[in-house]
Symmetry: C2
């Protein structure tokens, strides 16, 4: 059966699988990237993983799709602060002769939401996964847009309260320092001295005033940032994903209210929860793999 | 000689001219739009103006290009709060049989900066005219991008200090309420009781502490907003125009400093002054006119 190898490479671990032409995903156990051994080791680990996945398939794969962090174009992993590589040609990640295409991790997940997910009926939207950090994929005319050098989408480090808290990045008042899942836990602990995760904060917001205050400030920070995005980009939709996105309407309802309040002469666009969740990365890498195989508009009907 | 009619329609006045294939602009006296007589009168006034301009040319024009305010696509003026029209087909603005193309006023000026002006060597940049108000043209892959419904580019109403001053638009802390030319004068007067224009404030900033404070706050507001734009869009350049843009390096130097200060993990893109100034609107309308005539990539060498 015709298939491609799909790989979603994170900072510390990667997960891979096979994606058939009809869209069936066969996932394989993930493994560490091994970045503590340096960028060359990571490249070798990815190549070995791709080779194993390819060997498990029915004949050679038609192509390979890789979602990687940092700055990337289809043919080169240009830079990742996290992994430490620079200018790695796509061919280095795969056994010789396999067609391969690279994509940025968040943008690749956004591409999957565009083709299969919450954004499948629109062409222009923001995909915003809220996890340990916050970065967005700007989907413009159906494709991720990373700006002129691929540094775009850093909405997590746009200032929402520009004279506010210092962010870990060195800037002041970044969205991420108020609204990431990691920040929810950290800010609760700063107020109370008690350890907490974002899930705790969400769960206790109705009864614990400290949890409520931390969540309300995160929602306000998101509303400010997404109101700005709306005014600037006029998107058809905003799709919220990541760990915090799992909260669904518990997050989206107050966020919708606060965005409406922040906007005077226009309405906010629809806010939706991701339709693909954690599968977005692998399906997006599958799209890249099929593109590498020459199938430009791969978009089978999926059961979601 | 082969030419098109170009018209730049503002809220209160419009100016028109003829644009030859080699890029010579023959300007004609401007005239009021006549919006106090209602949107139908404005359409009739534009049509009469186009007819006069066409009659002054050497034979009929090859096409007509119109830059208009509000929400617009190439074939329809969809909406303008300022003028009051809705869904006016492009053909209504011209004598029967003339090919015509419409564009958004700021986006059309940005298109001219992209083809002929400060952005001619790059494909992705922000054109930001700072005048009575502030609105931007997002140039993406060489073309203006107005979002899914054409409401994009409203950077003047993105919040910079979200708990700050009330803006005339009803929102709180908008860039425009701190940094437009009108706001510079208004804010100086609020501090001192003395009337002032933006030009006064710029001119006196070195000696008058109130003028300095008002200007410094405007520069900080612009830096916050343009830092956000940079992080989100990764533009190749930011081009500042409009009345305040005339200040050139007196504005751009401190703005560059404050943007650098606001950004930690990346540099700001180059900040440039508009190369076309007030000619951008007419040249942009000329581009639209030549597109209407079927000349898609009209870009003669201009003496700037």
């Amino acid at each position: 059966m015709s298939y491609v190898v799909a790989l979603d490479v994170g900072g510390t671990s990667m997960k891979g699988g096979l994606v058939s032409e009809s869209g069936e995903v066969t996932g394989f156990p993930g493994r560490p990237t091994g970045r503590e051994d340096g960028p060359e080791a990571v490249v070798a680990n990815i190549r070995a993983y791709v080779a194993e996945l390819a060997a498990s398939g029915d004949g050679p794969p038609r192509g390979v799709g890789l979602a990687v962090p940092g700055i990337v174009d289809a043919d080169t992993a240009l830079f990742s602060a996290n992994i430490g590589w620079r200018d790695v040609p796509a061919g280095a990640f795969v056994p010789e002769g396999l067609p391969v295409s690279l994509g940025h991790d968040v943008q690749t997940a956004g591409l999957a939401e565009s083709v299969f997910g919450a954004g499948r009926d629109v062409t222009d939207f923001l995909f915003l996964p809220i996890g340990t950090g916050i970065a967005g994929a700007l989907i413009i005319k159906g494709e991720p847009y990373g700006g002129v050098n691929g540094w775009g989408g850093e909405i997590g480090h746009t200032p929402v309260w520009p004279d506010g808290e210092r962010c870990a990045c060195g800037q002041t008042g970044c969205l991420e320092t108020y609204a990431s899942a990691a920040s929810l836990g950290r800010r609760y602990t700063e107020r109370t001295g008690k350890p907490a995760t974002a899930v705790d904060v969400m769960a206790n917001a109705a009864t614990d005033p400290h949890a409520y205050a931390v969540l309300a400030e995160a929602v306000e920070a998101l509303a400010i940032s997404l109101a700005s995005y709306t005014l600037l980009m006029d998107p058809a939709m905003i799709v919220i994903g990541g760990g915090l996105g799992e909260a669904g309407e518990a997050l989206l309802m107050p966020l919708r209210d606060r965005m409406t309040e922040r906007l005077s002469f226009r309405k906010p666009p629809p806010l939706r929860q991701t339709a693909l969740g954690v599968r977005a990365g692998m399906l997006g890498a599958g799209i890249l793999g099929w593109r590498a195989a020459g199938v430009r508009n791969w978009a089978p009907q999926l059961d979601l």
